[in-house]
Symmetry: C2
Amino acid sequence: MSDFEKNKRNKIRRIPKRASYSKETIYPIIDAAPICHLGFDEDGQPFVIPTIHARVNDTLFGHGVKSSMKLKQSASGITMCITVTLFDGLVVARSLFHHSVNYRSTIVFGQGRLVTDAKEKLEALMAIAENLIHGRWDEAREPNKKELRATSVVAIEIESASAKTRNGPPVDDDEDYELPIWAGIVPIKTQYLYPETDSRLR
Amino acid sequence: MSDFEKNKRNKIRRIPKRASYSKETIYPIIDAAPICHLGFDEDGQPFVIPTIHARVNDTLFGHGVKSSMKLKQSASGITMCITVTLFDGLVVARSLFHHSVNYRSTIVFGQGRLVTDAKEKLEALMAIAENLIHGRWDEAREPNKKELRATSVVAIEIESASAKTRNGPPVDDDEDYELPIWAGIVPIKTQYLYPETDSRLR
């Protein structure tokens, strides 16, 4: 897989050693997250909205109902910013200054378009369902025509992107390693707990 | 605690029964999240950046180094959008159309200002540390003058906000309750795992 060109928009200015412009780093982060945060501008006011998503090749898909602001904005051809963040741990240093977090995050830029082709729309909805619950499309009742009409899908072609990640132990100032203060990391995991069956199940 | 006025900016247009404008709902969501997503506009391009935060009364605090774009933008007096999302579970319905997620999210609007008062800056940094690791300020080495100079703190007075939440079981179409398809919820929890001690600990 290729790299994205580093430019003014996607360049990581702070702590560039944590940056990556490679699809091999960026795409697994997008795929590992159940939700993303979508940023757009409406009349000079920034909005950031959480939403579920899926990636197919170099395209991100999102969905919603036609009347939603998110969908209207996304499909209007304006440039969007989509941010995916995976929070992996607390970095507990000896000094407060060097406290940090371990994370994998990626920022994607691209223009949105409404998906009008029926085949692409169905494939996008399958990808979104798959990204949320693997294998669910084959188990549940498929969308009927009325439901498909009520659902809008937006595609954002990924024009530019970058990732920023931190992992590993705290890094303290040399002299602080002598201090009698606990340091280390607290790993954080998004845990899927035991399913709770709906009380109305047949 | 009072409610925020519902206006064009913070009004939840989709599924208004999931909306709240009450500080009693909004503030606990902000306080429960270790990170938020900060949205701002730079030369017409929206940016969404993950960051750690803390709330003190009606003010959100964030921090960073002076040179960061995030800090420069935040402190420039432009209107920001700060979104906090807690992802609580998968809602597994009988039909794909009614699949959903359980979540608590809040969107906050306000203008940023650079914190210049030394006392307010220290209190903000304490609040940010406390929001990440309760009690850590008293254990770790406190920031020295050089570290404090290198750290910028931004305050965003919360002008307007709203929350949107979903919880509970799937809601299917009446006729679908007869289908022999499993339905229910899969709860999701952010789990803090056992701490890993730094190998260089004395």
